[in-house]
Symmetry: C2
Subunit: 404 residues, 2 copies
């Protein structure tokens, strides 16, 4: 085993359980006698660059357990994506601090960063282990059955749609909820868990994996509204037009703001929902049409955590430390489903994760591209965790009319 | 006691616990031998007009208990506000069905409807009891310490702001959350419960009870952002300009959509948040500014219910039946706070509730009008119920820098 320091960092957007992974890696690392210190980098790679390290060897186990239950990156995060030159600089810092194990909790971008860092280590002949711990609410990492963070976000979306379906059932009209997911529709698809009684919404679900056609959309809404007198719709922020360009892009005249990774920023924009609502109002002459863009609530809401997700997030953190120490290898922890419902954790080379995006498989999407299949519901249900509350309706008989 | 039927109906926007009140009134009414049937009106007064009654005497107690735990009006709702002519028609239906007790669960508008109905009953010399059961997430009913529905919505808002504060702490920038509340700021003010550590947001809270000045707002944000490098803001949808007109109205060139009650529709509009975000971006040159309009999630989200709120909502329903039967009187049930924390229920004449709006008292709002006082926090905390989760941060010492 390599003697020296462990460094843990968190990158990208937060999740409700990202601190479970951090605490899992920290507590497991602290057990090994050859580990001299366990550091946390404040604000991800930016913290490494600036030597902003918190000494987690001097944090109480008790407080770490409380932090584990707190949503959103306790080590704070970053959107910086290092290039080779940036990685060289990171390396000087890591060498100076005798950091031998680097655990980076993040999504696609983070695993790519790790792969670059590791190439640098090889060139420098510096003994170094780079380990990727998966997290993303989008569930878009390849090799994984699902990713830590997804289950809790899916629980939030399912809970939200149980509520808005009940609201829409009581008040009537059309409701559109716009859900996060740039390329993969997994999170939007979780809205389907709200479908309990036969007339429950979401009645229509639109995902980035299928071309979104405004005319077909209007026809779909018209059909549901004529049948039920109401309609609940789940739309992914990342839906695309027939040229596979973001639908939102054409709405904004081809110009979309981008973040530091060159990713188009969709989540802070209510334009998509508002535009779809306006189209329904005008073309179907329905007066009560409402649209909500769920925004930042869906990834860090406190008190809506899947216990399954929390447990797995903890375990990928622990397994990261174990694989790094006992196997003396680089790689990414991945979740494999082994039963219904059970999982185990594998360790795969970083190259198999980095820079790739997993999409919804075809058999999870219905043939019309406006809903999901039972296969998907069977897949997602255990990830929401225990104690998920569903809705109950009155079933008493109607009283006879006397005047009409 | 008047022998005949009981009728229960729900009006206005749904809450998370409105069915607790319905089930409380139904189960208590079913105990009385002189009550021949317990009906529920489907879609409020519209259901009465159409004789759409569900016979709740033929609903299982077990299913009623499940329905009680389900958010949003199980009897479905209405925005119709009856005038005197409409009430005359309602009356013919009630007489035909031998309805002697009418329990209407709703806010301001519902209590006004009841008062009108009752006047009609007096003129018709028809023995009739009209009882108002309070509910509103806005907490804007006079005579009440607080209203059923508010505690759960406040819990949602507090939970949301714990999450977005953590998110903003990790990612930086400015975040604006727009919260429901047309005239009263109680719901927006509940965001203050997220303030745990000294630098926690929301750092600024704007309520409809104080004039909103855009220049002062920009100065406030600038000050916080310069100090902390981030800023979390809670804004009520109902903030007003110096002429006490909705701030949103001036943004929309003086034209705002109205609902059937003549109330301005604010909640489905992301314009306010987007406009404030744009103003910050341009005038303070801050690139990462995000805005979410919480919309319909905040009043019917499942799995975010205050147990205190649920218990009280049940009890106002039960007490309504008891007051009606044992006191043989019309009126509204009101919640009185008797200790910290305990409540009791009074029965007041309908005229004392109807058509009046309760606002935040001055001692709940800070002197600058951009935050709340500890008095408010002390008031609201028990209403959120038990098991409210708070955030925990790392407290370990920073490691020494070696290179800088």
């Amino acid at each position: 085993m390599l003697s020296g320091k462990v460094l843990v960092a968190q990158g990208g957007g937060p999740t409700a359980v990202i601190n479970q992974s951090m605490v899992g890696a920290v507590l497991e690392s602290r057990k090994f006698a050859h580990i001299t210190k366990v550091y946390g980098a404040i604000h991800g790679v930016e913290g490494i660059m600036n030597e902003d390290f918190i000494d987690l060897t001097q944090e109480t186990t008790n407080n770490l357990e409380y932090v584990a239950k707190t949503p959103s990156s306790a080590l704070l995060s970053t959107r910086v994506k290092p290039d080779a030159a940036y990685c060289n600089e990171l390396f000087k810092v890591m060498k100076a601090h005798d950091i031998r194990y680097f655990f980076y909790i993040g999504g696609n971008d983070s695993s790519e960063t790790l792969r670059l860092l590791n190439e640098n280590a090889a060139i420098s002949k510096y003994d170094f282990r780079a380990i990727h711990i998966p997290k993303t609410i989008d569930n878009d990492l390849v090799e994984n059955d699902h990713t830590p963070g997804y289950g809790s976000a899916a629980r939030f979306i399912a809970s939200a749609f149980v509520g808005v379906n009940l609201d829409n059932r009581a008040m009537g009209g059309v409701y559109i909820g716009v859900v996060m997911g740039r390329h993969a529709g997994f999170l939007t698809a979780a809205s389907s868990i709200a479908q309990k009684y036969p007339d429950d919404g979401p009645h229509l679900i639109y995902l980035p994996e299928r071309v979104f056609d405004l005319d077909d959309f209007i026809k779909d809404v018209d059909r549901i509204y004529k049948k039920l007198g109401r309609c609940v719709i789940a739309v992914s922020e990342g839906i695309v037009d027939k040229n596979h360009e973001p639908f939102l892009k054409s709405l904004m005249g081809g110009e979309l703001a981008k973040d530091d990774h060159g990713n188009v920023q969709l989540s802070d924009n209510s334009l998509l929902g508002d535009t779809l609502a306006d189209a329904i109002k005008k073309r179907l002459n329905i007066s009560r049409v409402r649209s909500d863009t769920f925004g930042y609530l869906q990834r860090s809401f406190i008190g809506c955590v899947s216990d399954t997700d929390a447990r797995e997030a903890r375990e990928v953190g622990e397994k990261a430390a174990q694989y790094a120490m006992w196997n003396d290898a680089d790689g990414s922890i991945v979740i494999k489903r082994t039963g219904y419902y059970s999982v185990d954790y594998n360790f795969v080379p970083l190259e198999r994760i980095a820079g790739k995006t997993r999409l919804m498989p075809d058999d999870y999407i219905n043939s019309k591209g406006n809903g999901v299949t039972d296969e998907f519901k069977y897949f997602v249900r255990p990830l929401l965790g225990s104690g998920f509350q569903d809705a109950h309706y009155l079933r008493a008989t109607m009283a006879p009319k006397l005047l009409k």
